[in-house]
Symmetry: C2
Subunit: 798 residues, 2 copies
């Protein structure tokens, strides 16, 4: 049985009305606050009990050696792990000497609400201390979108049933004791007590700690200031030690008399700047926050989010759970990216330590597509970070004997720290994923300056990589051998179709961009001959196809491998990688996650409609979805090939990954890419959004092919396109297109050109859905239907 917190279904917030300590860690992930720079897990204010205490700063990590029983040339030697930085959210409470720890005493009432429109996490509790005193506790917490270095908390305590002496200890804590980590002792060594104190300070209501990491040499500063409101008896004192700086506030409270503390926290870090510089930086940021005040921070937060939702909201009629889930998803995707400012967007955002805080390809392939249409300025920032890592990527390519740049499979600072090569080093597709994310951003925003300054260079270096990685055979066909595609149950294959198609787009886009910016291309050493070799390789790219079956091959020879024996695989043996050896998964037809299906989403014009339908059916029967990156892609292609009920089921799986903890690891942080997948399933799926490539990838049009599953009566979404906002309102029989602002925009409706204006909506009817036989999933892997649909009754998930 799956145990998870239970939340009420509401359109604009996530509300928890009971505290279940067994799944505390999961709730800490879903209630995490972040602005992309600072991340605070949704830990209880008092610090304990906790699942995993967590305060993170994007880019702050420690190094550790990567172990190999048998090493090899080019194996990365140094790993990176995001560390828990100075925790500024801890506010401990003593009620008549009893520490407020909800494991003791009795919790009469508990509620936490994460409001997607205000960006504030609110909490109320009513607790009887072991000494018998009842108190009301409330807090509100935000990590500011507008003041990047700042987070703030309002904490209030009030006795209910008699006079009470309370002590509130507001802290900055470094090197918090963490739950024991299993696994490599050297990784544990890097993450336990990762910070060495450089400065500690406490005076009046002001606190400060500055620390440094030992191996990565990063300086981390945190400062806090407080406003205190309480009765006359209220006193306070501040103390500090190397790892703790603490303000203690005491007061004698009568029933109904509150003690209120507003805590402003500021963070700063640098690998370069001096101790005084970091010290001044955090003191300055906290002073600015005090000057803005709590109400000012809350108002600015609301304003920031109002602007976001006006251009990004998705309305779903007919499924309140999905409605809530898509807003939850968009809120967290925004939180992961909003103020990253030239730092990575990690796979878990800043919500937990899963995947060591690393950034992977799913940022470019799942998260950035959503942000390109909803918060495009964050995409430029994330891609500038990648651009900034080009020196490391060029060095990695050189080390492996390749040209151009080879981006890391997983990293924090830009250096490869994936130790495991079959699915790591060889997963070259990440390079095209990055390049095409840049192309997508430029196409959809028209940001020419970005293209000249960063985009072209990303394209050129990745094109050079592909050109050196592949080779022409005797017949002139261009092959890319020995690579791993998105599907992690296949590895080191020849001509992975997804990789080859993406590389083809990459090569063509590089040549086209170099033509548009000949001077800049010249600076990068690109001449017409080089661009011609890119076009030539693209034109002759191998695209494996099995004529007998009439389907494309995920990689050369894939359809000839032995089929996995799904019938003999019991449900408890999923995910397969925990129960079967990789060598066996690699050599059989079994697919962890969308690979060729993702190719049909990313490169839709490489396939005819009938090929898509046959491919989808073939690969659907092999795909076990042991990755959270799969369901949303399957939802899109299921929609396109006419399987709307199936698409709707996959939407549910993508949307509820974290809210229902479907993979049992939400405790380690949210699946940001799967959350993005909720939007993808709705907008690219039921909205049918695709980018239609024009002349050499340049003037591409946005196209839509909307169709709704039975259960949904309406879907409304807004996307940003070249500075305008386009709203698509899909009903059961027609779609209405209108611009919220700006000049008229040409789009396609089911391939038919259409000009949308701000004046009046363009309305188009929806063509009938093609009828095709229902595709089959591997035995026992059919997704459960959404509640209320037919499948929900007949096929419970095993």
């Amino acid at each position: 049985m799956i145990t998870h917190p239970s939340f009420t279904v509401e359109p604009w917030c996530l509300r928890e009305t009971e505290l279940n300590l067994e799944v505390l860690a999961q709730s800490e992930s879903v209630f995490a606050l972040s602005n992309g720079h600072i991340g605070w897990r949704g830990n209880l204010d008092e610090g304990e009990p906790h699942g995993l205490p967590g305060a993170y700063l994007n880019g702050v990590y420690e190094r550790h050696p990567l172990p190999y029983a048998e090493a090899g040339y080019g194996y990365p030697e140094s790993g990176q792990t995001m560390i828990n930085v100075t925790d500024g959210k801890v506010i401990r409470l003593l009620v008549d000497d009893h520490p407020c720890d909800l494991r003791y005493g009795r919790l009469l009432a508990h509620e936490r609400v994460l409001d997607f429109r205000s960006g504030v996490l609110s909490r109320t509790a009513r607790w009887i201390s072991p000494g018998g005193r009842t108190v009301r506790i409330s807090s509100q917490r935000l990590v500011s979108f507008t003041q990047r270095a700042v987070a703030a908390i309002v904490y209030e305590v009030e006795p209910v049933d008699g006079p009470t002496t309370v002590a509130v200890q507001s802290e900055l804590v470094a090197n918090e004791q963490l739950p024991r980590v299993e696994g490599d002792p050297r990784v544990a060594a890097a993450t336990e007590s990762p910070l060495s104190a450089e400065e500690y300070f406490a005076q009046d209501t002001r606190l400060r700690l500055v620390h440094r990491t030992d191996r990565s040499g990063l300086r981390v500063g945190a400062a806090a200031d407080h406003l205190i409101e309480g009765p006359e008896s209220t006193r306070w004192t501040a103390q500090c030690e190397p790892d703790v700086s603490r303000l203690t506030v005491t007061a004698d409270l009568a029933p109904g008399q509150p003690l209120r503390l507003v805590k402003f926290v500021a963070y700063g870090w640098s690998g370069e700047r001096s101790l005084p510089a970091v010290h001044d930086q955090v003191d300055g940021a906290v002073a600015a926050a005090v000057s803005t005040g709590w109400d000012g921070l809350v108002a600015a937060q609301r304003e920031y989010l109002d602007r976001f939702w006006a251009g990004a909201d998705v309305e779903v009629e007919g499924d309140a759970e999905i409605q809530q889930a898509v807003r939850f998803a968009l809120f967290h995707v925004l939180q992961a990216a909003a103020r990253g400012e030239n730092r990575a967007i990690p796979a878990k955002g800043l919500t937990g330590t899963g995947y060591d805080g690393h950034c992977f390809w799913d940022t470019e392939s799942y998260v950035l597509p959503v942000l390109t249409f909803t918060a495009p300025e964050t995409v430029a920032s994330a891609l500038r970070w990648r651009h900034g890592t080009l020196p490391a990527a060029r060095e990695r390519a050189r080390q492996l004997g390749l040209s151009g740049a080879l981006f890391p499979w997983r990293t924090i600072d830009g250096a490869e720290c994936s130790a495991y090569w079959p699915a790591g080093t060889a997963a070259f597709h990440i390079n095209a994923d990055i390049a095409m994310a840049a192309v997508r951003y430029v196409m959809m925003t028209g940001d020419e300056e970005f293209e000249r300054r960063e985009g072209l260079e990303l394209l050129v270096d990745t094109a050079r990589l592909w050109r050196s990685l592949g080779h022409h055979d005797a017949e002139g066909v261009f092959h890319i051998d020995g690579v791993t595609g998105p599907d992690e149950y296949s590895a080191i294959a020849r001509d992975n179709l997804y990789t080859n198609l993406m590389a083809r787009q990459n090569l063509l886009a590089a040549a086209a961009s170099a033509m548009r910016h000949r001077d800049r291309a010249g600076e990068l050493g690109v001449d017409d001959e080089e661009a011609a070799t890119w076009r030539d390789a693209a034109a002759r790219m191998a695209l494996p196809y099995n004529e007998a079956l009439g389907v494309h091959e995920q990689s050369a020879g894939f359809t000839h491998l032995q089929r996995w024996d799904f019938e003999a695989t019991p449900p408890e043996n999923y995910p397969l990688m925990l129960h079967y050896p990789y060598f066996d998964l690699y050599r059989k037809q079994v697919i962890k996650q969308a690979d060729l299906v993702l190719a049909m989403l990313e490169c839709p014009f490489a396939f005819t409609d009938e090929e898509k339908a046959r491919n989808f059916a073939y690969y659907e029967a092999l795909t076990v979805r042991d990755s959270s990156l799969s369901a949303c892609c399957q939802a899109v292609l299921a929609t396109e090939t006419g399987h709307l009920r199936l698409a709707y089921a996959y939407l549910g799986e993508a949307a509820l990954m974290d809210l229902d903890d479907l993979e049992h690891n939400t405790r380690d942080g949210l699946h940001i890419a799967s959350l993005a997948g909720t939007w993808i399933a709705l907008v690219s799926g039921f909205g049918g959004l695709r980018r239609h490539l024009g002349d050499e990838g340049r003037q591409d049009l946005l196209g839509f092919a909307p169709r709704l599953p039975e259960a949904l009566s309406r879907l409304v979404f807004t996307v940003a396109v070249r500075g305008r906002r386009l709203t698509v309102d899909v009903g059961r029989t027609e779609a209405r297109y209108r611009l919220l602002d700006g000049e008229p925009l040409a789009v396609l409706h089911y391939g038919e050109p259409l000009t949308v204006t701000a004046e009046e909506p363009a309305v188009r009817s929806l063509p009938p859905v093609p009828v095709r036989p229902e595709p089959q999933q591997p035995h026992g892997r059919r997704p459960p239907g959404r509640p209320g649909t037919e499948e929900a009754q007949t096929e419970p998930q095993e």
Copy 2:
């Protein structure tokens, strides 16, 4: 420049006439003594200076955890490392208070001789102590072939130029301090001080130490006793501590007056037996040795070796260096195996810690073929060890979802301890290598009891493995996907030809053996249906072939991969795996070591002569010989396809691997398989020895197709065949076959049947050698010719 000890060229011994401390570790390997149970490196008697002190017992190891940065299902978790056990060879010498350490004072003369006929290592030295006194030191050392637990030393010291007080300290030392090991600290932890003292004893001239390993829980006992001969002034005393038991003998010696010590050492170990049992065992063995006496041990050693050489010697006329090398090789191969008695034959024998003391597939594929024809009783013992590991191999197969038994890629005790899967877990061919070693042994000896008791079970379990590992495609062809063949520059390939051919032989041999022993097969659960599925899979085995090129493919699609850019690879970048990433080696046409060429040696009848010639030429151009396992196979196929000068060059490379330290790692121990390769290059190469499969692998004939390279005038070798000894005497124009004993034997001479008797030699002339264009090696990888041949002048090795 290669630095290595220089040895005189003599037919029956290896003589060193200078001591070069820089290459001391290499000399310790070549002068190592072993009987397959005990191994003593050729360390100087005084213990220091040393390259690597080493005393080993076959099967004594310590465990250590295997590290993974990213773990996976089925990855072995525990490694094994052979440890340095109690050292019984240390005899320290003090000359008037100056310790005899050859780094100090002056060494006037030094000689060490390893005599292949006596099996004794002799040493003489003349040394001036830092105090100015000249002494003559001599020692003789043996590890007994006849008394398996026993080794012995005669040590003699004598002043030359004036009266001297000497002290001789004869020791048993546990936990010797070793040179610092680079790499995983956990492996170092397992090998530094691996022994915990259980008992220490010293009384009169008797010493004893019993220790235990911490994690593997093995009890190791060593005992010594001494005979002392010296002047009246001679006194002795014995002392002990937990890790040292020591006899100190002092004497005042006049010039020319010797002090002589005979030291008898006995070893025993057990994972099961009690302390008193091991204690008694080593005391008993040492008492027996004392009773035999030094002269008795030497006489028995000589007798044992006389018998061996009478049935195993190879005479080479025309190349004195090769003559010495082949006897050196046979002597060390015998040492590695002679008294292993149901233990493994490690890749380095017991001559050093290279490869952690592990046993690999080269035991069955390189070492056992030689022993089958020269010392067949050792083969039965080595295969009984494999048979004894069947429970572990079955468990491993079960763990990986396969039937039958899956033998480990590298092991000491039978459990898989290869951490690195592409060339480890997936190198399934080892299972056929083991099975076919058993078949070869049974065929060549007629040992029916072995076949019934162990051979059949090895065949059945490996046949079951192949049947479950492979699958039939839609056309009924049987494929084995996702495996790694012998060539470690390719991995995880489909239908590796060597693997498939060996698996085919394995399946057919299992079916045939089950038919011969129906009752025993029934006990193993084999019925006619199961045997039929083996025959069916064998009959439809995929054997990839490129029709356009007219060559077989090393694995499916191999000939379509990009060719390695050998022209752009500088000589200093070999071996490639130290300078290029494996992923790149894997995806290109570049071969580390004989793979398809080995298949043509092991399964000669799967190829026509013309196919062999085309295949050899094609793969020769891709093979860089970064493995010591390659040259001998290339020598054999070069001979068969008519390239005798090339074959002769490869013979030199195989034969001098350790004597000339060609791979710069002889310090870690000898390359036992490459030593065996010397015999293979001569006997299977220039002798053309092949086993010709008869009816279902049963009645196979031995065939010969002798031909000599220009430089050699004569080659004489003797092989054991079904209890008889057959001598083949190859000249430039004819070959003479005769039996030394036993009933007439049918053999083939160039495919033509011939009956050989003990009465008179059968003489046959040699057909002309086919003339074919000289095959090309990769740029810069042509082997240097033997001295005196044309190539030696024109093409020095880069």
